[in-house]
């Protein structure tokens, strides 16, 4: 799109620059010579016919490009320079300067452009220079607002704070840190301002306010209209300049939008999307599920696909089981596939995610094979998710209680208003919020209370399982302790099973029954919380524990893990932890280890471990 636009503009520019070579006659000299052929139809001699004075329309069109483009470029240069400076100054200085400049901008914006330009041009002599100046001086307001908004946004960013902390001058901060980040937007804006300026020039010329000694497209239209082109059916005299204007403006617009897409590459669609059921064979693994398992995941694999790239194996061959009232900790560093795993349980993966294998059995039913309508009945009602940062997801315009009521009503559409209100009160009390505060809005809640409200919302349909993605990460320790207590109480009172996603080992030790340690999309270790903390088997689990500052004992220096977690689209060929593992042997770099049963209810995937029992497709079932 940018290329097409740029090509169109370059063509027009070429016409303007080489006008004397391309045009059959110079319109400035040709006035007398051809007066016999007024409004001659297009012919071999005059490809686009002649105008009211018998001049060649094609030549006029070519020469007209000069004026239009000159006005467009110079006027937009003036208005972008003025608008850019005012916007940046207002955005950067803030306070009284900002208010004064922006009120001034608002005043200029309120004055209609075209009438003002007409008055100004009429007052001054209608010359090319005056037209450029007037269009430039009138049209900067949009740029000023845009640049101010972008400057404000960039100014808040941490690296600007840091530059200031270092002692950088305002000038340096503006030129080195703010301007380069405003520039892409300014470039896009400039292209669009050029097209506006060209339109404005055409309008002014059409109204007869152009320099009569030059030829411009607007002026051609003006002459054609006022001198009987319509009545004599000389469509070419109108169509040609009109097409010229459309050509250039369309070129600018295409270039502008094209540039915007190149310069501001927005993230590819990453919203949650419903997934089609994967093609998996039901008889994949012999079932030895614990009879009391509420949720059982078998051999789940998820890929992320992108065009021209090998698929990223975000989750591979993952299995676990969850019983009623059990809290399972899902631990791992960022990018290890935790969030992908929990999203795939309910087929809520982003568009690029594909479930390639495995089963998710909820009470014996494979959720991955269910039709969408039946799955919808399970989502939220049976298994609810509290997303990461969900406490910022409350609607600021609705009372919190009302938002919980919506969840209740969806669960039970037949409920009376009184019943819904009673249920909302119950839910709030259950998470430790006085029922009366349901009438308040999210901004009247503290961070901890908002998180409680989100949990209340998740409880609205009496789910059996809550999946909580980093529910306490942004909270202070005391609030975190309160939320952990709350989850523990709910588990005891309601028999809720919880999948608790976190990277905080302290929290895991505090509240979880079982732990699944993920690394690079696979299960590194899966066991009871006691086994994971006191007899960790996988080198990664051990390294993680050594790197964690344990508050309870005075310890030696922390041992960091060298290197960094693998990227999912460039996984090592062997064990995913091998590049960072201090005890890795040759086999570890070559072959991926299987999940071994290393204890009664203890599983780990490491070549250095000896299985105590054959793993053979058994479903892990730690107590």
């Amino acid at each position: 799109m940018a290329l097409a636009g740029a090509g169109m503009l370059l063509f027009a520019l070429g016409l303007a620059v080489f006008a004397p070579l391309l045009a059959a006659e110079d319109p400035r000299r040709a006035l007398l010579a051809t007066s016999y052929a007024i409004y001659a139809a297009p012919s071999a001699q005059h490809w686009l016919g002649t105008d009211d004075a018998g001049r060649d329309v094609l030549s006029n069109l070519i020469f007209g490009a000069r004026v239009s483009l000159t006005v467009g470029f110079f006027a937009s240069f003036i208005s972008v320079a003025i608008g850019g400076s005012i916007g940046m100054l207002a955005g950067y200085a803030g306070g009284a300067t900002d208010r004064a400049l922006m009120r001034f901008t608002d005043v200029v914006l309120v004055i209609p452009d075209l009438p003002l330009a007409i008055v100004l041009v009429a007052l001054t002599k209608p010359s090319l220079f005056n037209i450029i100046l007037v269009i430039g001086l009138v049209g900067w307001t949009g740029t000023a607002r845009l640049v101010r908004a972008q400057t404000l946004a960039v100014k808040q960013r941490k690296f600007v704070h840091r530059a200031r902390a270092v002692g950088a001058s305002d000038w340096r901060i503006i030129t080195r840190h703010i301007f380069p980040l405003v520039l892409p937007l300014l470039v896009v804006n400039t292209v669009l301002v050029i097209s506006l300026a060209i339109l404005e020039e055409s309008a002014l010329s059409f109204l007869g306010l152009s320099d009569p000694t030059t030829v411009s497209w607007g002026q051609m239209l003006n002459y054609a209209f006022s001198r009987g082109a319509t009545s004599s059916g000389a469509w070419w005299a109108l169509l040609a300049p009109g097409a010229g204007i459309v050509w250039v403006v369309l070129g600018c617009t295409l270039l502008g939008y094209g540039l915007e897409q190149i310069l501001n590459p927005r993230a590819k669609a990453h919203h949650l999307m419903r997934q089609a059921a994967p093609q998996t064979s039901a008889a994949q693994s012999a079932s030895s599920a614990p009879a009391d398992a509420l949720l059982e995941v078998r051999g789940l694999s998820v890929d992320f696909v992108a065009p021209q790239q090998p698929p990223a194996h975000a989750v591979q061959d993952l299995s676990f089981a969850l019983r009623p009232g059990e809290i399972m900790g899902l631990v791992g560093e960022s990018g290890c596939g935790k969030t992908t795993l929990i999203l795939s349980l309910l087929r809520l993966l982003p568009a690029a995610g594909r479930i390639t294998a495995g089963q998710v059995l909820y009470r014996g039913r494979n959720l991955l094979a269910l039709p969408e309508a039946q799955l919808a009945a399970v989502r939220w009602k049976e298994i609810a998710i509290v997303f990461q940062g969900a406490m910022n997801a409350l609607n600021p315009l609705l009372p919190v209680g009302r938002q919980i009521a919506e969840a209740v009503e969806r669960h039970d559409p037949a409920a009376t208003n009184a019943a819904v209100a009673r249920r909302v009160g119950e839910l709030l009390e259950q998470v430790g919020i006085p029922a009366a505060r349901g009438r308040q809005f999210a901004h009247q809640y503290s961070g901890g209370m908002r998180q409680r409200a989100m949990i209340a919302m998740a409880l609205a349909c009496d789910p059996k399982i809550i999946i909580a993605d980093e529910p306490t990460t942004a909270l202070d320790v005391i609030i975190q302790a309160q939320i952990l207590e709350l989850l523990n109480t709910l588990r005891q009172r309601l028999g809720l099973a919880v999948i608790f996603v976190t990277h905080d080992l302290g929290v895991v030790a505090e509240i979880c029954d079982t732990v699944l340690v993920m690394y690079g999309g696979v299960a590194a270790e899966y066991a009871s919380v006691d086994a994971v903390f006191n007899q960790p088997q996988h080198p990664y689990t051990r390294a993680l524990l050594a790197a964690f500052p344990d508050f309870s004992r005075q310890q030696n220096a922390l041992v960091s893990i060298p290197g960094q977690p693998p990227r999912l689209h460039a996984l090592p060929p062997g064990c995913r932890f091998a590049p960072r593992c201090s005890s890795a042997v040759a086999q570890c770099h070559a072959q991926q280890p299987r999940l071994l049963r290393v204890g009664a209810e203890h599983y780990a995937s490491c070549h250095l471990l000896q299985p105590t029992l054959p793993a053979g497709g058994a479903i892990p079932q730690p107590a």
């Binding site: 270092v166 980040l181 320790v477 302790a481 952990l484 302290g506 895991v508 006691d530 960094q564």
Partner: protein, 327 residues
């Protein structure tokens, strides 16, 4: 007695909280409400407290990014508010700030070498390009980015979180500061990388004698790095003393509540903790008397009336609690 590297005396920072109603006094948030502390050369002082307690404001006020409402800041014995502009710049050069979010604190369009070089340009140090380059590379190596040559040419998006935080640290080290003000430098990082940055800060102190004011809400990180710990609550320091004592044998009821709330990474030590109820009150409405009394499980009548000051309770260990004064 040697002069402390940094001394803060009765520092106040008040913000206007929203527009004043007619005929009403302007509501004021007392983000810092009389903070005093000292930091020796080569010492790591952890400043812990919940969000909104004023710990970040303290760092911003010390570096001069926020102007103090009143109070004194002395750097190596020099009063900063009385210094002229040139002197102030020279003093501030010796204290460098490290921000929380390594993903946001680097300009995405600048190469690592340019980012680390910037403080030198700003302060017109090492005008010769070759010497400047050498100094940049040395700072990168000190921050553990080796080979420095290779990292110097990278752009921020080509680095991992831990490496970015190292670049931030390198750009602070390049000025050879005597003091680092590290505002939650590890809270955005993964566990395995967190240890790496904490160890780096410890190494910088050991090798270069750099003092660190380590601001964190994570008591575990404070325990791993700090010599002394100051606990802040609603704009005041409520307990200050050696790290081992403050964290493992806290005296102030608030510090005790904080300590009890820290999850213990050992499932065999699960405890029914006494969770402190409620949340930190709005700093625009600081309670009268002891500011902690509405949440304090031990509060007595006198706590509502009298505002306790920080006082010595053991050698080098002080707390602001009326109940401790009586002993």
């Amino acid at each position: 007695m040697n002069t402390p590297l940094l001394e803060v005396r009765a520092l106040h920072k008040h913000f206007a909280a929203g527009p004043a109603a007619w005929f009403q006094p302007q509501p004021v948030v007392r983000a810092l409400d009389g903070v005093s502390l000292q930091l020796q050369r080569g010492e790591v002082l952890a400043l812990v407290g919940e969000s909104g307690c004023g710990k970040s404001t303290l760092a911003l006020t010390i570096t001069g990014l926020e102007a103090a409402t009143h109070g004194t800041i002395l750097f190596a014995g020099e009063e900063m508010q009385r210094s002229n502009k040139a002197r102030l710049r020279a003093l501030r050069r010796q204290m460098q700030m490290i921000f929380q979010d390594p993903y946001e604190s680097l300009n995405p369009l600048m190469r690592v070498a340019e980012i680390v070089e910037e403080p030198l340009l700003v302060h017109s140090i090492e005008p010769a390009p070759a010497a400047r380059r050498a100094r940049v590379l040395r700072a990168l190596e000190d921050a553990g980015l080796k080979p420095a040559q290779e990292f110097a040419a990278r752009l921020p998006h080509e680095l991992s979180g831990g490496q970015r935080q190292r670049v931030v640290i390198a750009s602070a080290l390049v000025l050879q500061p005597a003091l680092l003000l590290a505002d939650e430098p590890v809270s955005m990082l993964d566990v395995s990388i967190r240890a790496e940055i904490l160890n780096l800060l410890a190494a910088l102190r050991a090798q270069h004698g750099i003092a660190v004011l380590f601001i964190t809400h994570d008591l575990s990180s404070a325990a791993a790095l700090a010599d002394r710990v100051a606990v802040m609550y609603l704009g005041r320091i409520v307990e200050l003393g050696p790290a081992a004592q403050v964290l493992h044998n806290p005296l102030h009821p608030y510090t005790r509540a904080l300590q009890a709330a820290v999850p213990v990474a050992n499932p065999r030590q699960r405890h029914r903790r006494v969770v402190l109820q409620g949340e930190t009150p709005n700093p625009a409405q600081i309670p009268a008397g002891c500011r902690f009394h509405p949440r304090c499980p031990l509060a007595e009548a006198q706590c509502k009336a009298n505002d306790p000051q920080l006082h010595m309770v053991a050698a080098g260990h002080s707390a602001a609690c009326l109940l401790l004064e009586q002993k």
